[in-house]
């Protein structure tokens, strides 16, 4: 349990915020362990696990064999006897080998044994994108996971949320998938010190507004904020709801915003068909038809694998310019100078100039 809660904040990167949450959790409860491929290697999973082994020892922080399915089952077994494992995967794609343990055991245990024991494991999955990560290193499969009853699926955007939600995930009595977008790892923001937890469930209003509701998740919230800034100058006020969790989803907050604006655009980092965006559009249409003044819309990745080639990923991702186009079209406004203001960055396949590959 949190002993001293301090709220002083300073600027940290998203990756550092994750690292801090792991430090706080390992410190707060000696039942917390942390492992994964490369968890204690010199790169420390993009810096997120650096220093943990040195501080907490190799019994609690360790590397593992290249055995994702088995090691997920091991986490489940340990958790049945009081351990709180945090498992880390450098790419979501590698975790697909563990679907059996995740879906058939972790997600079902509490229910199928009539609530006798739950599985308090946290699984960190990092989403790749760009720099030729290609078809098997860049998949955004959160909709799969959210589809499975019994799992919680967290997708933070801000560094503060990364820290606070990771702490809540680790101390949650249920299995939680904690999904980090690689393009957020170097983003900086205010992060409170200490054991400050953010509840899993409520979304965050990333920007207040009254003309249109934009629901987004993870890295797409960053693009949405850029678009909203431009749109504000065009006199369009966007309300941006950063989901933070895709299971559970904070329906109440979405409904209230749609009641206010009457318009809905949902952004998703994954492929369009069967997406979280589709689910949100569906449920709003079913439950709030009366509030909607326009057909709701969504922007997601195209229904094709992400190709590797630099030539084929130009214009492939949904960026701020696409969001602004969509909003202007929905509101029947001229596109005007949007293309001049929201250009796809050059090069388009990296999160910033600091990134020069190859991971």
């Amino acid at each position: 349990m949190p002993e001293s809660i301090s709220t002083a904040s300073r600027q940290l990167t998203f990756a550092k915020a994750i690292n801090e949450a792991l430090n706080v959790a390992l410190e707060a409860d000696d039942k917390v362990i942390c492992y994964g491929l490369g968890a204690d290697d010199p790169k420390g999973i993009f810096g997120t696990t650096l220093g943990l082994r040195q501080r907490f020892g190799s019994a609690r922080v360790f590397d593992m064999p290249l055995s994702e399915n088995a090691m997920t089952g091991v986490a489940i077994g340990a958790s049945l006897n009081g351990i709180r494992p945090v498992m880390c995967h450098q790419r979501l794609d590698f975790f697909l080998l563990a679907m059996d343990q995740l879906v058939n055991n972790a997600a079902k245990w509490f229910y199928m044994f009539d609530g006798q024991r739950s599985v308090p494991i946290t699984i960190r999955l990092i989403l790749g994108r760009g720099w030729g990560q290609g078809p098997t290193h860049s998949q955004n499969l959160q909709a799969w996971f959210a589809h499975i009853p019994g799992l919680k699926v967290v997708m933070p955007t801000s560094p503060a949320d990364a820290k606070g939600l990771l702490l809540s995930s680790i101390f949650d009595p249920n299995p939680v998938l904690f999904i980090e977008h690689r393009w957020l790892h170097n983003m900086v923001g205010d992060v409170p010190e200490g054991d400050v937890r953010i509840p899993i469930g409520p979304l965050r209003v990333a920007r207040g507004g009254c003309d249109i509701t934009i629901v987004s998740m993870s890295y797409m919230t960053v693009e949405a904020l850029h678009a909203a800034e431009y749109l504000q100058e065009r006199g369009v006020s966007c309300e941006i709801l950063d989901l933070r969790c895709v299971n559970p989803i904070d329906w109440q907050a979405i409904f209230e915003s749609v009641d206010k604006t009457g318009k809905l655009l949902v952004l998703d980092t994954g492929a369009e068909t069967g997406s979280i965006a589709g689910e949100i559009v569906a449920r709003v249409a079913i439950e709030r038809m009366g509030s909607l003044k326009l057909a709701p819309a969504r922007l997601a990745m195209p229904d094709v694998p992400e190709p590797t080639s630099f030539g084929m990923t130009k214009g492939f991702y949904v960026r701020a310019g696409d969001v602004a186009h969509k909003v202007l079209d929905m509101l029947a406004l001229e596109r005007g100078d949007v293309d001049a203001h929201l250009v796809e960055p050059i090069p388009h396949d990296v999160p910033g100039a600091w990134f020069t590959g190859p991971f």
Binding site: P42, L97, G132, D303, G311, M312, F359
Partner: protein, 321 residues
């Protein structure tokens, strides 16, 4: 070992080395925009297997596949174009360095998820068995891949059905930055696991290209005659970083000393010295080969660099057959 084969082994290793080192030298130009896993130092297995297998034999591999692809006879221009993300690449730019393919020479694909192609290679072997030919399916894997569940499951099936598969495990001691001893029990050899599953297996020095060749030749002949599978484990060492063009002995997961000790064992110099000393190879012949290599590789890079990018219309093409 005929002198011709001894020379071919050296030349094939040199070709792979030269390609890899040129990729490393040019990577910082930021034009090859995908993860790359170089096999510098590990060329012996690729060179040897290429001389043992026929184009009609199959091979599959994983993320570190440049050597395997070239060894099997894959088209160099198409490989480099793929790494550059070009339309002329062996996967049309969709796959990059980690997804190589050249079906014309039986290289049926390499993928980026570790262990992922092991059962695929066994399946190709099953198809060979069903068709009744004497071809062999070769599965390249690393020591890390031998920790995946699918490794055990695939080996078991191959053993129980006597599938004509040659498993070639290059044990370079590391899985990214994780040394073998944090992943597998001390003292246990991977080839012994294969034996325990019921697959005939042997272990050899992956820096001695002639020994590698001899072991492979025996194993493949045996598979063609009597069916499979066979498992070969070769000790080797990767010189450069796990992913990328640099040396990384400074970051602390392995020591410079260890690196230098392994580098001393390197397969190319060893074969080179052997051939020069025994006068099987004249310096002029070596120089001429070096020059032809330089020309070939320069041409292939030019081809890759000058090839056009695929465009938006290619993105959605060929999603379904």
């Amino acid at each position: 070992m005929t002198p011709e084969i001894a020379k071919q082994l050296l030349f094939r290793m040199m070709r792979i080395r030269y390609v890899e080192e040129t990729i490393a030298a040019r990577y910082s130009e930021q034009a090859m925009r995908c993860p790359i896993h170089l096999c510098t130092g590990q060329e012996a297995v690729s060179a040897a297997v290429g001389l043992v297998l026929r184009p009609s034999d199959f091979a599959v591999s994983g993320h570190r596949a440049h050597g395997h692809y070239l060894g099997k006879g894959g088209n160099l221009r198409a490989m480099l174009a793929e790494i550059y993300g070009k339309k002329t690449g062996c996967a049309g730019g969709r796959g990059g360095s980690m997804h190589l393919i050249d079906e014309s020479v039986g290289f049926m694909g390499s993928t980026a998820i570790v262990g992922n192609t092991i059962p695929v290679g066994v399946g190709l072997g099953l198809s060979i068995q069903l068709s009744g030919s004497d071809a062999v399916s070769c599965v390249f894997l690393g020591d890390g891949a031998a920790e995946t569940g699918v490794f055990f499951e695939s080996m078991n099936f191959a053993a129980v059905r006597e599938i004509p598969v040659l498993f070639v495990c290059e044990n370079n001691l590391y899985s990214v930055y994780s040394p073998l001893h944090v992943r597998q029990p001390k003292g246990r050899k991977i080839f012994r696991l294969a034996q325990a599953i019921g697959v005939e297996a042997e272990h050899g020095d992956g820096n001695d290209v002639e020994a590698v060749y001899a072991m492979m030749k025996r194993a493949v002949a045996d598979i063609r005659r009597n069916g499979g599978p066979r498992f070969l484990e070769f000790d080797t060492y990767r010189w450069r970083e796990h992913c990328g063009p640099n040396f990384d002995n400074d970051i602390g997961y392995r020591t410079e000393q260890e690196y230098l000790a392994h580098r001393m064992q390197e397969p190319i110099k060893r074969q080179h010295d052997k051939l020069i000393q025994s006068k099987l190879l004249a310096p002029e012949e070596l120089a001429a080969f070096g020059e032809s290599l330089r020309v070939e590789i320069e041409d292939a890079f030019c081809y890759a660099i000058e090839s056009p990018f695929p465009d938006d219309t290619d993105v959605r093409a060929r999603l379904y057959a």
